[in-house]
Symmetry: C2
Subunit: 420 residues, 2 copies
């Protein structure tokens, strides 16, 4: 397994970098992605790429299952079991037990379910703690979950002050494990330890973690987690999200979104709700068999690659990018906004630059696809399953070109448009 031992002195030479790609144990996975030719795609942290595996699984579910087996597919192709079956596979990437993860709905909706579960488990505690600048939906959903409840409040503390702010008034700490802008990674064990000392629950948003960094939710006795299926999990645009709940909390509370698929016996069609045991009570409406299909195939690829190898390559990719940028005098105006310590960051690298939007626009026009986050962050995501070391080298060379030639000052790059 390659790791961060390789340093810029070697990295600066393209021949060396190409040898890394040849020696990469994950190399064969690249060929299973249908990437646009001639482009370097560094935005898998926002939307993961299409693999042949995912496309063929979706084709099969569409043509053979929906098309030919129709309604019978709920049983014969186990569409009913898909949320748990895929959850059990995903659990292996998260360091969780198979029955602690279920795949359904969106990250935002799953946040709502678990925030309300946490408040039910801590009825006498007033405070939900998070950090300013957390991914917006995490904060917005807290606002919605406590709206009209005068006994609860959302309190935002900076990462430096956050751990000490956890106390006996804290019902829930809600943090994004890897920050969507900076890639800074929270110390799960340290926060869990403090939280457990004070009886607080912790809900982790793993949207920028799952499939990119090693996780061990059970060992950390993490209470709850959610995350999205369309970033490093490569499940497709708007893929179903997931939620995790540690066994110690199973059946202790139920979801406020109690739809029929979360019922103990949905096909009895009774008038009163009775939650299913375990994670199925966190289902709500009818699962999307179509959008679950590519996600399942994609998770199987990640399992075949192995989380340890994926995480190691992620660290090498991000370190190579950081080192190549650091070696370039042309790029001295970019300020690294990501932790320099690979153990403290996720799988993307961010730089601050006042003209970040125009620079990223010009770079995209050169075929290197990263993204921009207001007000000044350029983001580059590195997906170990399909990003090559040579892609990193190419991206830095094109970034140098855009800066060195003042290409980014062309007026067509000044206009804002939104990217997710």
């Amino acid at each position: 397994v390659q790791d961060i031992a390789q340093r810029p002195a070697a990295a600066a030479k393209l021949a060396t970098i190409r040898r890394w790609d040849q020696d990469d144990p994950l190399r064969a996975f690249r060929d299973r992605f249908e990437l646009p030719p001639g482009k370097v795609y560094l935005d898998g942290n926002s939307l993961g790429a299409l693999s042949t595996d995912a496309r063929e699984r979706l084709d099969h579910v569409t043509r053979a299952e929906w098309g030919q087996s129709l309604i019978e597919s709920w049983n014969t192709h186990d569409w009913f079991g898909a949320p748990e079956r895929i959850g059990a596979k995903l659990a292996r990437l998260l360091g969780a037990q198979p029955d602690e993860v279920i795949v359904c709905d969106t990250t935002s909706i799953n946040l709502f379910k678990l925030i309300r579960t946490a408040l039910a488990l801590r009825p006498d505690r007033a405070v939900i703690l998070s950090e300013p600048g957390n991914f917006p939906t995490d904060l917005y959903v807290i606002e919605g979950a406590i709206a009209g409840d005068g006994a609860r409040e959302l309190r935002l503390e900076t990462p430096e002050r956050l751990i000490d702010a956890i106390d006996s008034r804290t019902a829930l700490v809600l943090l994004t494990h890897v920050h969507y802008k900076t890639a800074a990674m929270h110390d799960v064990h340290a926060i869990m330890k403090r939280a457990h000392e004070h009886g607080a629950l912790v809900l982790w948003d793993l949207s920028h973690s799952a499939g990119a960094v090693e996780l061990d939710l059970d060992a950390a006795r993490a209470d709850m987690a959610v995350g999205c299926g369309y970033k490093y999990l490569n499940g497709g645009p708007g893929a179903p999200a997931f939620l995790y709940l540690h066994r110690m909390h199973h059946n202790a509370a139920s979801s406020p979104l109690c739809g029929w698929m979360g019922h103990a016996r949905p096909f009895d069609f009774t008038d009163h709700y009775e939650p299913a045991a375990g994670m199925r009570r966190y289902l709500c409406g009818t699962p999307s068999a179509l959008s679950l299909a590519p996600l399942e195939a994609s998770i199987e690829m990640l399992l075949a690659a192995g989380m340890q190898r994926l995480a190691a390559k992620s660290r090498t990719l991000t370190q190579l990018f950081i080192d190549l940028v650091a070696d370039s005098a042309t790029l001295a105006g970019l300020r690294l906004a990501t932790p320099a310590d690979p153990a403290r960051r996720g799988s993307h690298v961010s730089y601050a630059h006042a003209e970040g939007f125009a620079i990223m626009s010009a770079l995209i026009a050169q075929g290197v696809i990263g993204d921009f986050r207001a007000p000044d962050i350029l983001r580059f995501g590195f997906t170990p399953l399909y990003t090559r070391y040579e892609d990193v080298w190419t991206a830095v060379r094109k970034l140098e070109h855009v800066i060195a030639t003042d290409d980014w000052k062309r007026p067509e790059f000044a206009r804002r448009c939104s990217v997710t």
Copy 2:
């Protein structure tokens, strides 16, 4: 346009029925569905069939948009606008304004959003009114939406008593327009009139109505509606659902599920939620571009067919089935559980029979796909876009065979399995 003028005397002759198919103005749509050969599919009220239009749209979004344009598709292929764009198309099938409908999430989740919206609009009223035996998720979601709120109660009244039960204590009436078991259709105008006289809001579940019967939500001044995308709308298993809110209620309340896609400016990434204007505030998480694709293509087919022609054919199909069964002495043991008046029913026909499960199982083994609803209901759904009159004839002849030969008494048909 054919309508219910055709009666069993003519219908009993297969040659006549075949002529109806030849003269059917919707005949060409049948060829655009990829139905399993040799089967008669009468369960489009549970899962609509796959059309070539839907499959090709999904293929395009998968291969070209996700695969090649990747993250840029949010803008260049307007994935962001899809929930409103598809909503505007669907609005024409519902008799709504284009800006009153949005497509997202599931029926259950959309019920939660609108129930809570209704309670916010009627803060001083205690009662949510529905009917016993309503589709379970409607009742379950009400329970979840008022859990812990001592000031609210769910009250169930039979259809006969329901209209008189609407009074000044009623915050919301929540009804499924076409009943999932019996196909009985509520009188929207009568209920809206009574509700408006007493200041109550009404939320319609249109899951068994949209694409099957004519609706005129705006003319009825219907307050709210939800419905599912995978029945007569043919959007695919677990397709996104929809919600409708009359303009008179726009911006008066917001969704309790306030995720980032419902924010006024999601890409400002602010710490505080500010709801978008109009229907976008009812979005929550990231839309599923993949599962929206086949739904959009399917809705376009329905628009091309025309809601009036679809509804007329629906009435003829259901009447033909009822008449053929009534003409058969062999089928005298089946009790019609659907209104005999075509103006009072949706697009499926149900019969009660104590051995319904085994009879339906045996019929499915004969290639006629209907479904069963506990405890004793056989359901047959007729989708005007792809069901032929001859399919109706074939289904009745096979049903006669199953009963006449006691085929249904074979032991393999006695075992229960769930179908949705």
